[in-house]
Amino acid sequence: MNKGISFTQAFFTLLKRDLKIAIRHKGDIFNPLLFFILVVTLFPLGIGPEPQVLTRVAPGIIWVAALLASMLSLERLFKADFADGSLEQMLLSPQPLSLMVLAKVLAHWLLTGVPLILVAPLLAVLLHLEANSYGALMATLALGTPVLSLLGAIGVALTVGLRKGGVLLSLLILPLYIPVLIFATSAIDAAGLNLPYSGHLAIIGAMLVGSLILAPFAIGASLRVSTN
């Protein structure tokens, strides 16, 4: 059977399509970012502006806000495609589904994860993060946010067919996010104390590799269930 286009072509076509759609709806990029900034801003107001306190809690605040922003933005990952039927076309196409979902997740990460990484140092300044923690903050976000997108996409794929998936989604994916949160914040804390943190980074890297390999299959299987 003629497969039409190659796997690489299919991957990049889908990636380009998703990026193009997002650029035409700029809110999809800016809203999660604004949410991230707003959540971080709330904490100094809530717990008081003392620099020592903020320094201590800064890694946790930034990472928790990143988890929430990632979850919030993921909700729309498959929604539009599910509503207009293009998701079914992807399921029917001869290219493997796991490849297609990987393209979609990558597009999602480029649009929401990367801006978040770029804006994080600015927020770290506002929260008086230790000067020697910046490298660890950037490194953990760079390795960790793709894991969030990949794991979260499983939950989104499971709930895309449901009318009230929003609250359920948080119950499904936040427990899966916890290991990333733990290792990322302890890496940043270790860096703040001038301790080596390469071990933490290696574990987050291992999570990234593991989820990069396994998550697309789980996402694909979930989408097949949801679109049944």
Partner: protein, 248 residues
């Protein structure tokens, strides 16, 4: 080789088999938990360091170890249901989930009650406690995902995928006390080497662990039978069963 097993995928046969097994599981569970608890709570010697408060171990450890076993049982059933499309396996997974959640909750509560006199605090955010809490959230996620689909065939598949993804947490709980410095003590019961526990305390504990397993088995069978009937309400054999019971 596995041919004989296939006939039990049939709902009617599975219903009958679980009906035959249920009294055995239930009786043995009562017997083991009764013997283990009475022996442990009344007759086992007092710990020289912890006094009498160590006795909660006879509930806490069985609940904690069975919370993980129940999860594995659920995930295995879900995997069988997904791969070989055996609906009875899906129902079994759906039957186990709430039981596992309750057992996990018991493990957390008894752990907190034990932590208060021993560590001076109800709760610490260390690796084992946190990962056990995550296990509870995973159970709740599976339950609510299963509940939120109208179509129970889809519900079972979706919840099954989530259960399988969550298996990653099990080794984390199991080895958390070895991988991280934890306030929680490391395992005292070992299968391959000698256990670091006095036999007078160890035997009631082992009896209770077995008893908890049997109890979970018994409750699972009850829920499994109910699940089979609920999903097969339109089948002739279920209707005859209902008629025999006097339901119109």
């Amino acid at each position: 080789m596995w041919k004989w097993l296939h006939s039990y995928a049939d709902p009617q046969k599975a219903y009958k088999l679980s009906g035959t097994l249920l009294p055995w599981f239930a009786t043995l569970a009562f017997l083991f938990i009764g013997v283990g608890s009475i022996w442990g709570l009344l007759f086992a010697p007092v710990d020289y360091q912890q006094g009498d408060s160590y006795r909660i171990i006879f509930i806490h450890v069985p609940a904690a170890s069975m919370s993980m076993s129940a999860y594995m049982a659920m995930a295995t059933s879900a995997f069988i249901g997904l791969v070989w499309q055996i609906k009875s396996a899906d129902w079994a997974a759906a039957a186990i989930a709430p039981i596992g959640a309750v057992v996990t909750f018991i493990a957390l509560i008894t752990g907190a009650a034990w932590g208060k006199p021993m560590w001076g605090t109800w709760w610490v955010w260390d690796a084992r406690l946190t990962s056990e809490l995550v296990l509870l959230f995973l159970y709740l996620g599976v339950i609510s995902l299963y509940a939120s689909f109208e179509d129970k065939v889809l519900a079972a598949r979706a919840a099954g995928i989530l259960a399988i993804v969550g298996v990653i947490n099990i080794p984390i709980i199991k080895y958390s006390v070895e991988w991280w410095n934890s306030l929680h003590q490391p395992a005292t019961i070992k299968i391959t080497e000698k256990s670091s526990m006095a036999p007078e305390m160890l035997y009631p504990l082992l009896i209770n662990i077995l008893g908890f397993g049997l109890m979970i088995g018994a409750i699972t069978l009850i829920r499994f039978r109910a699940e089979i009937l609920a999903r097969n309400g339109m089948r002739p054999w279920v209707r005859e069963l209902a008629k025999a019971e006097g339901v119109k």
